[in-house]
């Protein structure tokens, strides 16, 4: 029985770590890879969630609402890059101010359109039994979703020609141009991919985290900290950090309270940043 309890704690912690990772991967691309501090990242998550909610309410099956949410957030991301980010590469504080303003605009728009409280969609009902305990199936499914997302982004960025162009444009922009890469177009696509990943997160997490205008805030702080702690090898680093910090916080929370879990998260983050100011992956010899 003790063993069963331990197994459920581990599984549900792994699933919360995965939820954190799902919300973080888009930021790992936009902030970790491109170095753009997008304070509106959480709002892209929110836009993804509302898009999925709206089309589901219109009668589209939930599973189909996810790609629609990705498409919508990618388009909005591309427009934001074109109008705002594009002019601010390399200007950290200006980017922060601009995207902060953008996040307020998106938040208020959501309040105006949807109000502050919206109904969730019912969680797809299935559960998994562990001994005498029973766990909701959908959150556990997120472990697989997080892994799939991670593999997808890794393959996209390392195996596709677009991915190589994207990394080249980010690492040495002028040289990327000098070998024929239209780096401004490539950067727009990369930012848009990052926003699309946030939209995907918002949509796929909708059964667990209901859409509200302020839902972005809940994720964005932990997501940013995860990417900062991860450091330059952004994808692998974020996965390990999300697993360690998110999982650790969740284990702590299940034995004590969720407040202690959060304290664990922030204390360990502070400790890691003190030990590794450039992120845990600063000295890793890996591409992503």
């Amino acid at each position: 029985m003790e063993l069963d309890f331990l197994a459920t704690v581990l599984l549900s912690s792994l699933s919360s770590a995965s939820i954190l990772l799902i919300a973080t991967i888009g930021l790992a691309v936009v902030f970790g890879l491109m170095g753009v501090i997008n304070l509106a990242h959480g709002e892209f998550l929110m836009i993804g969630a509302y898009t999925a909610l709206t089309v589901t309410q219109a009668g589209v099956p939930y599973i189909l609402s996810i790609p629609i949410a990705v498409a919508v957030t990618m388009v909005i991301g591309a427009i934001v890059e074109l109008l705002i980010i594009n002019r601010l590469y390399g200007r950290l504080f200006d980017t922060m101010l601009a995207t902060w303003g953008l996040s307020i605009v998106f938040y208020q728009l959501a309040v105006l359109i949807f109000g502050t409280v919206t109904p969730g969609i019912g969680m797809p009902q299935f559960s998994i039994a562990v001994g005498e305990y029973s766990l909701a199936g959908y959150p556990l499914l997120m472990i697989g979703v997080a892994a799939a997302m991670l593999i997808f982004v890794y393959l996209l960025m390392t195996k596709s020609v677009y991915g190589m162009k994207a990394r080249a444009s980010i690492q040495v922009p002028h040289m990327a141009q000098a070998i024929g890469i239209e780096s401004s177009r490539t950067n727009m696509l990369t930012f848009s991919v990052g926003c699309g990943l946030a939209g995907f997160a918002g949509a796929v997490l909708l059964p667990i985290v209901p859409a509200t205008p302020s839902m972005g805030f809940a994720f964005v702080i932990k997501a940013f900290l995860t990417v900062v702690v991860a450091g330059p090898v952004t994808l692998t680093g974020s996965a390990i950090t999300a697993l360690g910090l998110g999982g650790g916080a969740s284990v702590t929370a299940s034995f004590m309270t969720s407040v202690v879990g959060d304290v664990f998260f922030f204390v360990i983050t502070a400790l890691l940043l003190w030990l590794y100011p450039m992120g845990i992956s600063a000295k890793w010899r890996r591409k992503l």
């Binding site: 020609v161 040495v172 141009q177 024929g180 890469i181 890996r286 591409k287």
Partner: protein, 232 residues
């Protein structure tokens, strides 16, 4: 086949090069000589359109070169910058493959050719470019520029900070590339020996302008000019 006409340019409002004109004929190797700070690198960046022209233009094959670095690369202009600027968190293979694929060439074939041309890169093929030595990075930057299959190659101080054995190897490779593939080369250098070993003709720059045009034999005979160019 490659012409810079009345180039005037610099950074912001500061003019570095004034009214510079030069020409590289098809299949020719031309050196751009001059001491530190005379504007060689600025001229290279002007030629690649990495800095916008204040005046003047560039011609490739008698046509005005397009007004973007990326389009210029696609029209056959290869560039090896001073300081190499390889993509540090990409492997040696990826550095070459991305250059080939961007210009519509088969990346696998390009990588195979590059590793055959530059055997010293083969044991490092899967390493991140940022971890290579200076000389290896220089060779990689050259391999990357060649992967776009250029017809004119601009080299900016390719011997800077590179050990002598690799410099010799590089000279041999450049001569072979020039002969076998007919790629024209414009090389900015302070290393006179290196230039004399590959170039037939040279322009000498001074204070942002072309001071004179000369050829290998005249340069070899003119000890005074050699001294002047060698002085640091």
């Amino acid at each position: 086949m490659f012409k810079v006409v009345n180039a005037t340019g610099g950074y912001g409002k500061t003019t570095i090069i004034r009214n510079v004109s030069l020409e590289v004929k098809s299949g020719e190797v031309v050196a751009l000589l001059g001491r530190n700070g005379v504007g060689k690198s600025t001229l290279m960046r002007f030629a690649t359109n990495l800095i916008p022209p204040m005046e003047g233009h560039v011609e490739i094959d008698g046509n005005p070169a397009p007004n973007s670095p990326a389009k210029r690369a696609k029209s056959g202009l290869g560039y090896v910058p001073q300081g190499r600027f390889v993509f540090p968190r990409m492997t040696v293979i990826e550095n070459i493959a991305v250059a080939a694929a961007t210009n519509g060439h088969d990346p696998k074939k390009a990588v195979e050719e590059a590793l055959a041309d530059f055997p010293m890169l083969r044991p490092k093929a899967h390493d991140l470019a940022g971890g290579l030595s200076g000389g290896q990075q220089q060779v990689l930057a050259l391999a990357r520029a060649l992967a776009i299959m250029p017809r004119i190659l601009l080299l900016d101080e390719p011997t800077e900070g590179v050990q002598p054995s690799i410099i010799d190897e590089m000279a041999g490779i450049l001569k072979r590339i020039n002969r076998d593939r007919g790629i024209a080369i414009l090389v900015a250098e302070q290393n006179l020996d290196f230039c004399l070993s590959i170039a037939e003709r040279a322009y000498v720059m001074e204070k942002g302008e072309i001071r004179m045009e000369t050829d290998r034999d005249a340069l070899l005979a003119d000890k005074e000019l050699q001294q002047e160019l060698l002085g640091v």
